[in-house]
């Protein structure tokens, strides 16, 4: 026999929308700030977007960061960024100076500098990434276009299945989640790169289906109780699917937790974004998506397709 985390709940979610909107405004504001910083070139953009050179080394023995710094300073890469993964003695060096062809041999110089400094600690070059500014720009543009088109397509589908206001609100809620994660990355100084964009897309997909499930119940209840107050219908709908929302979030959270702890350094930030994103996504589909529709449509008749 199974267990039940939540029994029948009766929480007034719509009534809490003022507080939710304030919290969300904060989160979204931070995210917009992050976008602005990215646009101004101030944000911590990964080299796949900004262009540059990255080299990852794996040492035989543990290394001291000061020595690594010294090696880089002496070889003229003072501005480079260092990331140290103690597990496996790995070091990621990123030089965010535009990569203009291979004449400058940045990666070779870095490797040479480390061979000189770490004579008694052998290392292998695990990965080298060199990205020209034009490629970075086209990767950035492509990602943008793909995201925008997919969002438009989603609004159209949701507007057709529900109502225009639902489509827009779901989109806002999805953007809300994406911006929140971007904002968090800004605060923590973490890097915005292609892998993060994939994480954000994963998140958008997840949060959207979360929202759709609630909308579906609202639609069903609107049909069953056409005379009831919109707030009451929405509240009972959210409450009815609440345990599903929580259970699903918990399971996905568990998977991402495993990724975060055991997935290795390459997807560490990726899974971190997902972990935070799941929490925000769950919050937004309960506290943001439906209240927006409520604010928009209260007092008016919602014309929902009666046929399914």
């Amino acid at each position: 026999m199974g267990i039940e985390l939540l029994g029948k709940t009766n929480i007034n979610f719509i009534g809490m929308r003022k507080y939710a909107f304030i919290l969300s405004a904060l989160l979204v504001g931070l995210g917009l700030l992050a976008l602005l910083q990215m646009w101004r070139g101030q944000a911590n953009l990964g080299i796949d977007f900004a262009g540059g050179t990255a080299v990852q080394l794996k040492f035989e023995k543990p290394l001291k960061m000061e020595e690594a710094r010294k090696a880089l300073d002496e070889s003229g890469f003072r501005d480079s960024e260092l990331q140290h993964f103690t597990e496996g003695n790995k070091l990621l060096i990123q030089v965010k100076k535009p990569f203009e062809g291979r004449e400058e041999k940045v990666s070779e110089k870095i490797v040479a500098a480390f061979s000189k400094e770490f004579k008694d600690n052998k290392f292998i070059v695990e990965s080298t990434t060199e990205i020209g500014p034009k490629v970075g720009k086209s990767l950035r543009d492509d990602a943008m276009i793909a995201v925008v088109i997919s969002i438009i397509a989603m609004i159209i589908y949701l507007a057709w299945r529900f109502e225009f206001s639902f489509g827009v609100a779901a989109t806002i809620a999805t953007f809300h989640d994406v911006l929140s994660v971007l904002g968090l990355f800004l605060i923590l100084g973490k890097e915005v790169n292609l892998l993060l964009v994939t994480a954000l897309l994963t998140l958008a997909g997840y949060s959207l289906s979360d929202t759709v499930v609630i909308y579906d119940r609202i639609r069903e209840n609107l049909r069953l109780r056409p005379k009831d107050d919109l707030a009451a219908v929405m509240n009972s709908s959210i409450n009815e699917v609440l345990s599903r929302t929580i259970v699903t979030s918990v399971t996905v959270f568990l998977v991402c937790l495993a990724l975060f702890f055991f997935g290795g350094e390459v997807i560490h930030d990726f899974s971190f974004a997902l972990l935070f994103g799941i929490v925000v996504g769950t919050y937004s589909s309960i506290f943001v998506a439906s209240p927006i529709v409520y604010e928009w449509r209260k007092g008016k008749k919602i014309r929902i397709r009666t046929k399914r």
């Binding site: 990965s127 990205i131 998977v255 937790l257 390459v266």
Partner: protein
């Protein structure tokens, strides 16, 4: 009822068998002989980020190809005007990609126009002006002609690079054009990335040029370059200390002969010095040319120039007619053998510039796979246990759907020869999340129906019915996203979209049919009074 259950169970079994069939090459190593003879042997294709390898994006500098065509035209016009006794005051290449021609009188002008129309349809007049009785032309490449040159430069570069990679010996290389002037090169599992980059990126324009011995090198280095000559350098590496020095030469610009007359180039080792060098064989035309050059320039120095750096500049001792030559220098055997490869494969029609290089070492790739798999297994176990605890026996049915899902997904991957990348694994995670969610949706619905006092069978049926459209809605929205991302995304985003769309479609099947059939079967076997959910 029984018939419907049998049908659905058969469908599930069929897909399961198909998936396992396509997964055999990935899981069984080595494959039995009879299998590899008749059946598919493709393993799941891992992306470069997982298996290690090199991803290069090259930009062909097509403008250079147009420039060198104009160089040729300029020289050619000079020759034909001289031959036809048409006087001219100047024929010159301007730096802006044009040819400037000046003619002294109108008679010359008329005859020049005749020649131009007859022999050089590829050139068009960009500017014409008559000043002080002189006729001044600025000629440029016809846009159509220029475009043709650019396109063929990219095509030839692609061919040449493919040749070089083939001779270097890389398994399953990908070499394809991308956009107008870019070439994508993917070399899985490459061990010496630096060497591969040198090999692919080298223009490898081999030229034989005379050393300018009439003028002084010292003067030239001070900046007084004699017309028609230039300073080129030889790189000399001290094998013991590794110190690199550069030795200047004053070289005549005119190239006597280029590498296109080569029929073969091989790495050889001088037995007495244990020194590597590259031996060259010329074709008939090249042999004749070389014979003529050496005969006319005995006692002079002939420089062997590759991509504008001097490799050696030996004194021509005597006329050489065998159609053979050699390039010496302080080569390691690898360098000599790579040089031989690029010379054999021919020069690139225009230089290429590496605008993107992502190289992942095999150790990091393996590390990512190991950790990815470990994380996926731990994550799946967590989910499986959670579902079983939370939903009891029904949770086990959901777990069964999850396992089915993963096997189907892997099988589909192998069958479609799709490439699994790190972002692809992210897509799988989202798909697993959705698979679980589908079951949670239905179970919660069934619980609601049970609370209303319905019988087990009625509750299960009602639960499935009511959850059905919710599931369709959430899957379709996700599928829309995935398809758009696949269509418009590049690289990692595309990899993500592939797994996600496959995952969504498979999940619809395994959840709506895979689990329902078990509930139906249990219900048919015995009238359940209670359901563990």
């Amino acid at each position: 009822m029984l018939r419907s259950i049998q049908l659905r169970a058969g469908l599930i079994a069929l897909f399961l068998a198909l998936s396992i069939f396509f997964l055999v090459p990935t899981l069984v190593d080595p494959l039995p002989k009879w299998w590899s003879k008749y059946l598919p042997t493709d393993k799941i294709n891992l992306g470069l980020d997982l298996r290690g390898g090199m991803h290069l994006l090259l930009e062909v500098e097509v403008q250079k190809a147009v420039d060198s065509m104009l160089d040729k035209y300029a020289a050619d016009i000079k020759d034909s005007l001289t031959k036809k006794d048409i006087p001219f005051s100047k024929i010159e290449r301007t730096p802006e990609g044009k040819i400037s021609v000046a003619l002294p009188d109108s008679k010359a002008n008329d005859r020049f126009n005749q020649v131009r129309a007859d022999q050089y349809p590829g050139l068009k007049v960009a500017n014409f002006r008559e000043a002080e009785g002189k006729f001044l032309y600025l000629l440029e490449a016809n846009p159509k002609e220029a475009k043709g040159v650019e396109e063929s430069a990219v095509r030839q570069a692609l061919e040449t690079i493919r040749n070089r990679v083939d001779q270097f010996g890389v398994a399953e290389p990908v070499i394809v054009p991308q956009g107008d002037r870019e070439i994508l090169v993917q070399l899985p599992g490459i061990k010496e990335p630096q060497r591969a980059i040198e090999l692919i990126g080298k223009t490898a324009l081999l030229e034989f040029k005379l050393v300018d011995e009439e003028n002084s090198l010292e003067e030239a280095l001070k900046g007084n370059l004699p017309p028609g000559s230039e300073v080129l350098y030889q790189k000399i590496v001290d094998r013991d200390t590794g110190v690199v020095t550069r030795r200047p030469y004053l070289i005549k610009k005119r190239s006597m002969m280029t590498g296109d007359v080569l029929t073969d180039a091989r790495m050889r080792i001088k037995s007495d010095f244990n020194e590597s060098y590259v031996s060259l064989d010329f074709d008939a035309r090249g042999a004749r040319l070389f014979d003529q050059i050496t005969a006319e320039n005995v006692r002079k120095r002939l420089a062997i120039v590759l991509d504008n750096s001097v490799y050696s500049a030996p004194v021509i001792q005597e006329r050489i007619s065998g159609g053979k030559a050699q390039i010496t220098g302080s080569f390691t055997p690898e360098e000599a053998s790579d040089l031989a490869i690029v010379l054999r494969a021919g020069a690139l029609p225009a230089p290429v510039k590496i605008i993107q290089n992502v190289t992942v070492g095999p150790s990091l790739g393996q590390d990512s796979i190991d950790k990815g798999i470990r994380a996926a297994i731990i994550g799946s176990i967590l989910v499986v246990v959670f579902m079983a605890v939370y939903y009891g026996m029904s949770g086990l049915i959901a777990d069964w759907a999850l396992v089915l899902n993963i096997i189907y997904l892997m099988g589909a991957f192998a069958a479609m020869r799709a490439t699994l990348t790190l972002p692809g694994i992210a897509g799988i995670i989202l798909a697993i999340g959705m698979a679980v969610d589908t079951n949670v949706l239905m179970f919660e619905r069934i619980r609601e129906e049970l609370r209303l006092g319905k019988t087990v069978r009625a509750a299960v049926d009602a639960g499935y019915d009511k959850a059905f459209f919710t599931i369709i809605d959430s899957h379709v929205t996700t599928l829309i996203t995935a398809v758009v991302l696949f269509q418009f995304g590049t690289g990692p985003i595309k990899g993500f979209a592939v797994t996600l769309s496959l995952g969504v479609i498979i999940n619809l099947f395994s959840a709506l049919i895979g689990t329902k059939v078990i509930f139906d079967w249990i219900n048919m076997k015995k009238q359940l009074k209670t359901l563990s959910i």
